[in-house]
């Protein structure tokens, strides 16, 4: 199991949860970012994601380290999907283990914010009306 990973295949949280959890952890927070059926009310047909794959996994590891400087957390795993995603499919999983739950929640939310800000991964909205555009 690679903790930081970009893949064209569907994501499964189970192996990430198993990886992050150690006997000292009392909390595991799993965030799934999912392709939803609309953006600000406009109907979405599907999404596609493109990555700079050689860099993205490295950035994920750096974001986990950033979070570890701010909160007492344990292991972190981040997987991101690329390619075409149907509505309801997970685009990203962020899983954080920690002795206590507040740190796990805050670190997972922080990591997601940072992924959205700097990870070299781009989303294209394919609208139900046939148009498509990169979300920038």
């Amino acid at each position: 199991m690679q903790p930081f990973y970009v893949t064209n295949s569907p994501l499964d949280p189970a192996p990430l949860v198993a990886y992050v959890q150690t006997p000292a952890d009392g909390a595991v927070v799993t965030f799934a970012g999912v392709a939803r059926n609309n953006f600000e009310g406009r109907a979405t047909a599907h999404l596609s994601y493109e990555a700079y794959p050689e860099m993205a996994a490295t950035v994920f590891a750096q974001l986990a380290d950033e979070a570890r400087l701010r909160w007492p957390i344990g292991r972190v795993a981040i997987h991101h999907r690329t390619g075409m995603l149907a509505i309801g499919e997970s685009a990203v999983l962020v899983v954080v283990a920690a002795p206590h739950r507040q740190a796990a929640f805050e670190a997972a939310a922080y990591i997601m914010d940072r992924i959205k800000a700097v990870a070299p991964i781009w989303k294209k909205e394919h609208w139900a009306d046939g148009e498509a555009a990169w979300r920038e």
């Binding site: 970012g33 939803r36 700079y52 860099m55 800000a117 070299p120 294209k124 990169w134 979300r135 920038e136």
Partner: protein, 84 residues
């Protein structure tokens, strides 16, 4: 002169029309200078100035980072920044 390789993604790739470009740049060139040159050749890139991140050899860099022969340079267009 230095040989560098540039990677383009997402909206940038759509504008440039290719995913990679090999370029000769002068010694002492910075990544910011390369970006400015590209904006001259591809004016639609200029709208991204100030909104991109720079990377050299898959590590974040700044506009003033000096390039070396063989570097892989990337300009990272804004990521989704969405709320979802």
């Amino acid at each position: 002169m230095l040989s560098i390789r540039i990677r383009f993604f997402a909206g940038h790739r759509d504008i440039v029309g290719q995913a990679e470009l090999s370029l000769e740049v002068q010694d002492e060139a910075t990544i910011g200078m390369v970006w400015e040159d590209l904006c001259v050749h591809y004016p639609r890139l200029a709208g991204y100035s100030g909104r991109i991140l720079f990377a050299v050899n898959q590590q974040f860099a700044t506009a003033t980072t000096l390039l070396a022969d063989g570097d892989e340079v990337a300009f990272i267009p804004p990521v989704s920044g969405g709320r979802s």
